[in-house]
């Protein structure tokens, strides 16, 4: 089982996700520089958080045009699992792999804190480590996490069960008060139609170890490791 983490100029959660994945996969993912035109043959591709190109112009916009992203898109379309976290989510929307955009937080401020998420669907390779509607605690840290899309796309996402996570309160209730950034329908993460691409604003890699204050993120990577092992074995 192998994974690759794409590193852009300005990525800064690349090492964090590398550490978290290594703990669950048993081996460290390969770090791939954005300028590469090819990708190693891996079972999972992660587009990490950070500020690729400083988030200048629009978060994710410039990174989406990096040479390696053409290859990421191709692999994603071939069914390779792709996980985009925070800036990675922004980049995946800019490439068109995921619908919608991440706009400036409604509060107009960067927000770094633990929030609660409701797992909307646990039948994906990314969320199989959770129960359906499980409430998990995971940090966010972003300035542009305000998910927006047009009504038709939203209806399609909802209809197809492609909303992976929603911001909720500790009891699991979806409310405006629990929405940290103004996201449409409290959306914190969405899947592509085939279910092999997930983008999410929260950072599961930041609470994947007890010493850092929580382990709710760990289940995602453990679940992924299991799913990929199974897929590899079959």
């Amino acid at each position: 089982m192998s994974a690759a983490v794409i590193v852009f100029p300005g990525s800064n959660c690349d090492r964090d996700i590398q550490v978290a994945l290594a703990a669950s996969l048993g081996s460290a993912p390969e770090m791939v520089w954005h300028g590469e035109a090819t990708l190693p043959d891996v079972d999972l591709i992660v587009v990490p958080g950070g500020f690729s190109y400083g988030d200048y112009l629009r978060s994710g916009a410039m990174a989406a045009h990096s040479p390696v992203m053409r290859e990421v898109v191709r692999r994603a379309n071939d069914g390779v699992p792709v996980l985009g976290i925070c800036n990675g989510f922004q980049i995946l929307t800019e490439t068109g792999l995921l619908p919608g955009v991440l706009m400036r937080n409604a509060g107009l401020r960067f927000v770094c804190r633990d929030i609660h998420l409701r797992v909307e669907d646990n039948a994906t390779i990314f969320t199989r480590g959770y129960n359906k509607h499980q409430v998990i605690r995971i940090p966010i840290a972003h300035n542009e996490g305000n998910y927006f899309t047009d009504p038709e796309t939203l209806a399609r996402l909802e209809g197809d069960g492609r909303v992976a996570f929603r911001y909720c309160d500790p009891s699991g209730a979806i409310s405006d008060a629990a929405n940290p950034n103004g996201s449409l329908a409290n959306i914190a993460g969405v899947l592509n139609a085939a279910g092999n691409v997930l983008g999410m604003m929260p950072h599961p890699e930041r609470l994947a170890e007890a010493a850092l204050g929580g382990t709710d993120g760990r289940a995602m990577f453990d679940g992924l490791a299991e799913a990929l092992a199974k897929a590899g074995a079959s």
């Binding site: 112009l57 955009v101 706009m103 400036r104 107009l108 927006f148």
Partner: protein, 80 residues
């Protein structure tokens, strides 16, 4: 020649910054201010000397990078 590009949010797309500005202006005592929208304004020098080609180039830049056409419209002015 110079290209001047305005990138604005499409109608119907919520503009949190515009809202915040409107609110802040109200707080400062400016009355009668409404529908504030904030966009981007990008200027650049182009080596191209043909206005038509310059516009086409700028248009391609907007399509590919400068604007996110899911939420944004753009307008290009070419200045000789």
């Amino acid at each position: 020649m110079k290209a001047r590009i305005h990138i604005t949010l499409k109608n119907g797309v919520l503009d949190p910054q515009g809202k915040a500005i409107e609110h802040a202006l109200g707080g400062l005592g400016f009355a009668g201010v409404d529908s504030v929208r904030q966009g981007k304004f990008i200027e650049m020098d182009l080596a191209e000397t043909d206005p038509g080609k310059a516009r086409d180039a700028a248009d391609a830049m907007c399509q590919r990078l400068l604007a996110n056409t899911v939420i944004e419209d753009y307008r290009i002015d070419i200045d000789e």
